[in-house]
């Protein structure tokens, strides 16, 4: 990727945040001509992806974080503490996933928004680009303050997307969304950030963490709980209600923001706090680590159970997301380097899998106007491509070969074994079974329902698929599920660069 060779490495970070921001302004400027506006969105997305690739290139060359070429101080808000960006492998991984899927989602959104004849499309694409801009800032944040600031910006910029429909349901959903995310972040996260600052005098992310033996274990234990619940975007029970509530948003929003950007920003923040603030080893002797671990494990199981009771497809997927997010939290809290690697990998693998499922849900809604699973019996005849993609996505989420979801569950389980937490291993296994129980019946019923007597044999003529852009998008992501199973190496290489995290057992 030599496209950006002429640019200073540190300026690339600024570019990755500014480009989507400028994109959002251009979207507003070109709002009158939809074709031009969509061209702007797509171009911005592609440019952003190329920038992130260039950053990846730099960061693969050597160790980064603190004092490397890939850092950028923007402004000092408080004496000695300000907005500061710093590239590290975990952030690069998340940025890669988010920026790549933005391109795909943009293609998809064009088909969806036009096929569904949504209003206020300019506002939609503008807020979308803004949200991506803040996601990039979260990815590359160099200290907790920066992370917190853009975490809030992300919440606020996605609020108009959630309430896009403007109906009473959307309003109610938006209220829950903003209420929970804003409250938890102010009451717990800000508290945790300030507590950390007062205790240690710094908020920088450092390999191995910023706490040491001189800090009181009780205080650290409290801070850990505050962080886990303060990062409400990670949707640990009982603060998970906002995620199903946010499903009133148009499907592309649910797809990118609530399967990828927003929720992953949450678990990403938790991982980042665990790795760079507490340090993976620092977690082991805190009393609350185990408590939070079991709460997250319970979230995995409980929300899988709730998902089974939901007939609305998007609601079921939402609860499935809640469950899958807690996998990542579990991985972070197991205090094992392999589990942390699994958690990091799960950010990527769950993203590809879940976005495929959401794409399919949206395609079904646009093509056949069905929202409920019970109505989808026999839908395989009309939408064979969509339902095939759904099957692929579902298998990936369950974690069966030959889909990429296998790898992250593999490492998570090894991590749990290594940490001697057999209960967690058992919970992960049961959860996989539950995933099968609530995801696979959908394609099975769609394809293999009992035919009514005398029905004609299936032919292409009875298909009624979604618009082409949507099919392209879900084709790409389901292919991604498959391809990454065979070639996960680039991702694993990236994860192995994270200090203290390794995919091989017994090594640190």
């Amino acid at each position: 990727m030599n496209l950006w060779q002429g640019v200073e490495p540190s300026q690339l970070i600024a570019l990755s945040i500014i480009v989507p921001f400028v994109g959002s302004l251009l979207v507003v400027a070109t709002g009158k001509t939809p074709n031009l506006r969509e061209a702007v969105t797509l171009t911005t997305a592609v440019i952003l992806f190329s920038i992130v690739l260039a950053i990846t290139d730099y960061s693969m060359q050597g160790p980064t974080l603190q004092g490397s070429a890939l850092s950028l101080d923007v402004i000092e808000i408080f004496p000695g503490l300000g907005l500061n960006f710093d590239v590290e492998p975990l952030g690069v991984l998340f940025a890669l996933v988010a920026s790549f899927l933005w391109i795909i989602t943009s293609i998809y959104a064009i088909g969806y928004m036009r096929g569904h004849q949504e209003k206020n499309q300019t506002r939609f694409f503008c807020c979308f680009a803004l949200a991506i801009s803040s996601v990039m800032a979260i990815c590359f944040s160099g200290n907790l303050l920066t992370l917190f600031v853009f975490y809030e910006v992300l919440t606020l910029s996605t609020y108009p997307l959630v309430t896009h429909a403007g109906t009473d349901a959307a309003k109610q959903g938006g209220r829950t969304y903003l209420g929970i995310l804003l409250s938890t972040s102010i009451a717990f996260l800000l508290f945790a950030v300030l507590g950390t600052y007062v205790v240690t005098g710094t908020l920088d992310f450092r390999p191995g963490g910023i706490f040491d033996d001189s800090h009181s274990k009780t205080v650290l234990a409290v801070l850990l709980v505050l962080f886990c619940y303060g990062i409400g975007k990670a949707a640990i029970m009982p603060f998970h209600r906002w995620l199903p509530a946010a499903m009133v948003a148009p499907t592309p929003v649910s797809a990118l923001l609530h399967a990828v950007a927003v929720v992953k920003a949450g678990v990403f923040s938790i991982l980042k706090v665990v790795i760079y603030i507490f340090g993976i080893d620092g977690l082991t002797d805190l009393v609350t680590t185990d408590i939070m671990l079991y709460i997250a494990t319970a979230t995995v199981l409980l929300s899988s159970c709730i998902a089974m009771t939901k007939d609305n497809l998007k609601a079921r997927l939402a609860y499935s997301t809640v469950s899958q997010l807690s996998y990542i939290v579990v991985g972070a809290l197991l205090a094992s380097s392999v589990a942390a690697a699994g958690a990091a990998l799960h950010i990527a693998t769950h993203a590809v899998g879940k976005i495929t499922l959401f794409f399919c849900a949206g395609a079904i809604m646009v093509a056949s106007h069905k929202k409920n699973i019970s109505d989808m019996v026999g839908l395989g005849r009309q939408m064979p491509l969509t339902m095939t993609a759904f099957t692929i996505g579902a298998i990936s989420i369950i974690g069966l070969p030959p889909m990429v979801g296998t790898w992250s569950k593999w490492y998570l389980t090894i991590g749990a074994l290594e940490a001697d937490k057999l209960i967690v291993v058992a919970a992960l296994m049961i959860s996989s079974l539950l995933n099968i129980a609530y995801l696979l019946p959908i394609p099975i019923k769609a394809f293999f329902n009992t035919q009514s007597e005398g029905a004609a044999a299936w032919s292409w003529s009875e298909t009624k698929e979604a618009p082409l852009p949507m099919l392209i998008a879900l084709g790409v992501t389901s292919f991604g599920c498959l391809a990454l199973f065979f070639y996960p190496q680039p991702l694993i290489d990236l994860i192995n660069l994270i200090p203290g995290v390794s995919t091989s057992m017994g090594e640190r």
Partner: protein
């Protein structure tokens, strides 16, 4: 010639200009003149702050009588900082009021309005820069009397009872302060603040001095609407003309907070007030209750002006909480919040006033559907509202940051948690109004063509404040430097307190 009298100008300019404004008579003419004078006062206060930050204290002997016999004007980092905020807000409010009072004040009373405004500004500036305890009382009365007039000028007749209530409570407060100052004078024989400070030290824990302290604290408590002495404030803010509310909410109570700081930290000394008298506990308890009770009250009001009136009382709680932490960071958070809160509340009340200008009501129902009809006003309202909540990149976040840091530095985790929990109530009361504005439909009986964007002279000062909210939320170097130097200057380091005072005296 002006150079040497710089310290006296913030008081003298508006004081001399006030009767001239009345004589000018015509609405437009007196508006232009008053705005010009207030603008000059602003320029002077910038110079004063610069001088105070570089040279330390500026002392000015009024009439050439040297202190402690004559009246001394003393400008230091603390009051120069607050003075800057007051004169800036005053100028912006005056620009804003040209259109605003057209709807809310009778035409014949316009020049009276500007006169009272200038008198109020003169009084507030006087309170800030005077170095004399009795003189402070005089200026307090100047500003208060002007304020009662301002509140009663609204064309809504309910303002008269509100103003009367305010008058009664305000006078009680002033009397208490006068009694307190009288007790101090009786015991020490001096009224100059620094002189007082050094002599009070000698009468360690004398009963007369302590009684004086009690009277003064309660008196100032009424003036700044410290819970539970705040009952005059909500009706006064609700029924006063919007421009007056915007001005008072961002200046008058803040100046009272300053007076509290001055009396506690400069005159009585923190050892006496906090350690011997244990007032930090009292103030902290009152502040926390104020924050919760009044934030809660704000969530259940239907009149938007009342919502923000209660919110103002809660915000005074934050400032007092900062003081009661008895640390440099805490005091700094308090001083910083005085400035920052002026920015947010000024913008909010201006936006509410703009809504009244177009819709004719400030009930929460009147906000329905305004997001589309008055996009600029409501955008300003949204940003200022986020600032009240304390969202990052606004000034509210900066205040909250220092306040919580101050509490945590003293291992006071409970107070820190309470401060953050209280911001959730702010989410509720701001959220209710925003929801009405952006999600509800314009009522059918309102013609969409009449409800349009506010006039530019109302929008401009509103947006200046909103942009200041963002600017000082990102680049905090000016505000934090001023606030921290003020706090460090006020906060005695160890036992050098009395010594330094005596040295200053002998200079």
């Amino acid at each position: 010639m002006f150079e040497q009298h710089l310290a006296a100008l913030p008081v003298l300019l508006p004081l001399i200009a006030a009767p001239i404004t009345l004589i000018l008579g015509r609405s437009l003419l007196s508006w232009g003149f008053a705005t010009l004078v207030s603008g000059c006062a602003f320029v002077v206060s910038i110079q004063l702050l610069a001088a105070a930050l570089s040279d330390g204290v500026l002392s000015y002997a009024l009439g050439g009588w040297p202190p402690p016999w004559g009246i001394e004007l003393r400008v230091d980092a603390v009051n120069a900082f607050v003075l800057l905020a007051v004169s800036a807000i005053s100028t912006l409010v005056l620009i804003y009021s040209k259109d605003s009072i057209e709807k809310e004040v009778e035409k014949s009373k316009h020049s009276l309005f500007y006169t009272a405004h200038l008198l109020c500004l003169a009084g507030l500036s006087g309170i800030l820069i005077t170095g004399d305890a009795f003189n402070l009382f005089v200026f307090l009365e100047v500003s208060s009397l002007a304020t009662y007039t301002l509140v009663s000028l609204a064309s809504d007749r309910r303002c008269l009872t509100a103003a009367f209530r305010y008058l009664v409570m305000g006078t009680i407060g002033a009397t208490f302060i006068l009694i307190g100052v009288g007790l101090l004078y009786m015991k020490t024989g001096t009224l100059n603040m620094l002189d007082l400070a050094s002599r009070i030290e000698l009468y360690d824990s004398n009963r007369t001095i302590n009684t004086g302290l009690a009277f003064i604290v309660v008196g100032i408590g009424i003036k700044m609407a410290l819970f539970p002495l705040h009952m005059w404030l909500p009706p006064a803010y609700t029924h006063a003309p919007s421009a007056v509310t915007a001005f008072l909410s961002s200046t008058a109570t803040k100046v009272a907070v300053y007076v509290m700081i001055r009396f506690i930290f400069t005159i009585f000394g923190i050892d006496h007030v906090f350690e011997k008298m244990g007032m930090d506990i009292i103030l902290m308890a009152l502040a926390v209750v104020a924050i919760f009770k009044c934030s809660y009250m704000a969530t259940v009001q239907s009149n938007v002006k009342t919502v923000f009136a209660y919110s103002s009382v809660a915000q005074v709680g934050y400032m007092i909480l900062g003081l009661s932490l008895v640390s440099v960071t805490g005091l700094m958070a308090g001083v910083l919040h005085v400035f920052n809160h002026a920015l947010m509340k000024g913008a909010l009340f201006m936006a509410v006033g703009a809504v009244f200008y177009r819709v004719g009501s400030v009930d929460i129902k009147a906000f329905n559907g305004l997001g589309r009809q008055m996009p600029l006003t409501m955008a300003a309202f949204t940003i200022a509202g986020l600032s009240i909540i304390g969202v990052p990149l606004t000034v509210g976040f900066v205040s909250k940051w220092y306040l919580v840091t101050g509490a945590l530095e003293q291992d006071n985790w409970v107070v820190a948690a309470l401060v953050l929990a209280a911001s959730l109530l702010a989410v509720v009361y701001i959220g209710r109004i925003l929801e009405a504005a952006y999600f509800k439909k314009l009522p059918d009986n309102v013609d969409p063509n009449t409800v349009k964007e506010a006039p530019p002279l109302m929008l401009a000062p509103m947006w200046v404040l909103v942009l200041a909210n963002i600017y000082f939320g990102i680049d905090t170097s000016l505000t934090t430097e001023a606030a921290s130097s003020a706090a460090e200057w006020l906060f005695p380091s160890g036992d050098t307190h009395s010594v330094s005072n005596v040295q200053e005296m002998s200079k």
